[in-house]
Subunit: 216 residues, 2 copies
């Protein structure tokens, strides 16, 4: 019972700090997305394609979350956008405090879009509000069409599903209709995009929608 109470306290504290982040982001007129997925689903690749498409129109900043290494921050920095790397040192998700600390070290003036790339984990980050406007869950076709039912909380707590690696559909056992049906069964209001970060297919639809969400 004491463990449950402590966990509740941790989550309450996280919600408090997430609300503080949300206030800061709101003051700066920022649109903030929290990208979540399994390891290797293509979060950084989607971010690279998104920055490439939008950086001449809007100002983007990035917070990178990783268990170890700064590989992703280096990949993103090559595109000339400000990026802060959070290394969680073993922890399986980002928390609002870490994001708040990172944001305090960033110049958020004139930034339109802040992208938080979470740790690669389809379970734990679902439970942690970081102060974002929405969670965007990325799922690759190679993971299979049953994943929304097997990891429901992430799909329930996300507003958008981006299905990546559609170029690999001919080679993998993944039925897109079933995948979409499973995702909408968990969360009927999910907005769904289909993309390939390798061929670029579907990236413009995703970027147009993202731009439409941003308050300039």
């Amino acid at each position: 019972m004491s463990i449950l109470k402590i966990e509740r306290k941790v989550l309450e504290k996280n919600d408090e700090l997430a609300a503080r982040n949300r206030e800061l982001f709101g003051k700066n007129n920022l649109f903030v997305i929290n990208i979540v997925s399994s390891p290797g689903a293509g979060k950084t690749s989607l971010l690279e394609k998104t920055i490439e498409a939008l950086k001449s129109d809007i100002n983007i900043s990035v917070i990178e979350g990783d268990v170890q290494t700064d590989f992703d921050a280096r990949r993103v920095a090559r595109y000339g956008v400000p990026v802060v790397q959070i290394v969680t040192n073993g922890a399986c998700h980002l928390e609002a405090k870490l994001v708040g600390d990172a944001a305090a070290n960033m110049n958020l003036e004139n930034v339109n879009l802040l992208v938080i790339e979470n740790v690669g984990n389809l379970v734990c980050p679902a439970g942690y509000d970081l102060g974002e406007n929405m969670k965007v869950v990325l799922l690759s076709t190679t993971e299979g069409d049953d994943k929304p039912l097997k990891y429901p909380r992430m799909f329930l707590n996300s507003s958008v599903l981006v299905i990546n690696k559609i170029d690999l559909l001919p080679y993998v056992n993944c039925n897109m209709d079933i995948l979409k049906k499973n995702a909408l069964q968990i969360n009927p209001s999910l907005k769904i995009f289909k993309v390939s970060c390798t061929t670029g297919e579907g990236i413009s639809e995703w970027c147009n929608w993202l731009t439409s969400q941003i308050k300039k």
Copy 2:
């Protein structure tokens, strides 16, 4: 500080129960592997191929761990082996207690190989001993060659790395030499197999090695 103490207590309790599981498995002369990976890397597919290849020679039983659904247990049950499903109901990893409870409901006499398929998560299951002989980490080529460095604990705590989906190598950005180098940098004693559960390539090498580990 109190949270850290509670976490340590949880892990100590887990280690105690894992030791109890290990004793039970040892008494029954069982070889036990704990298969861990990201969601969709192919744990259940590897299990299906392994059962198919070995079930006429050895007796296999399975414990399936999932956040939700009994899809994997149903897939495995079709091969005619005893299987117990653990639904963690949101929890991100299996613990020794759950495995002990499952084992208490199984007839372990004459079983040679017990396979525990963990929850799909490349972070959290690394820290939990279930009483297994070894962790087998599965990584698919579609996840990319940088993953051992980004999720080091899982590779450090595993004895075997099975690289799956090698049939997709022509279509994905994954260099096998770099992947192996990265894995061995984290854990120089990792035994590495390369397989495709789709084409069957490499499955016999993996199964031959697995058979050699089993005390009949």
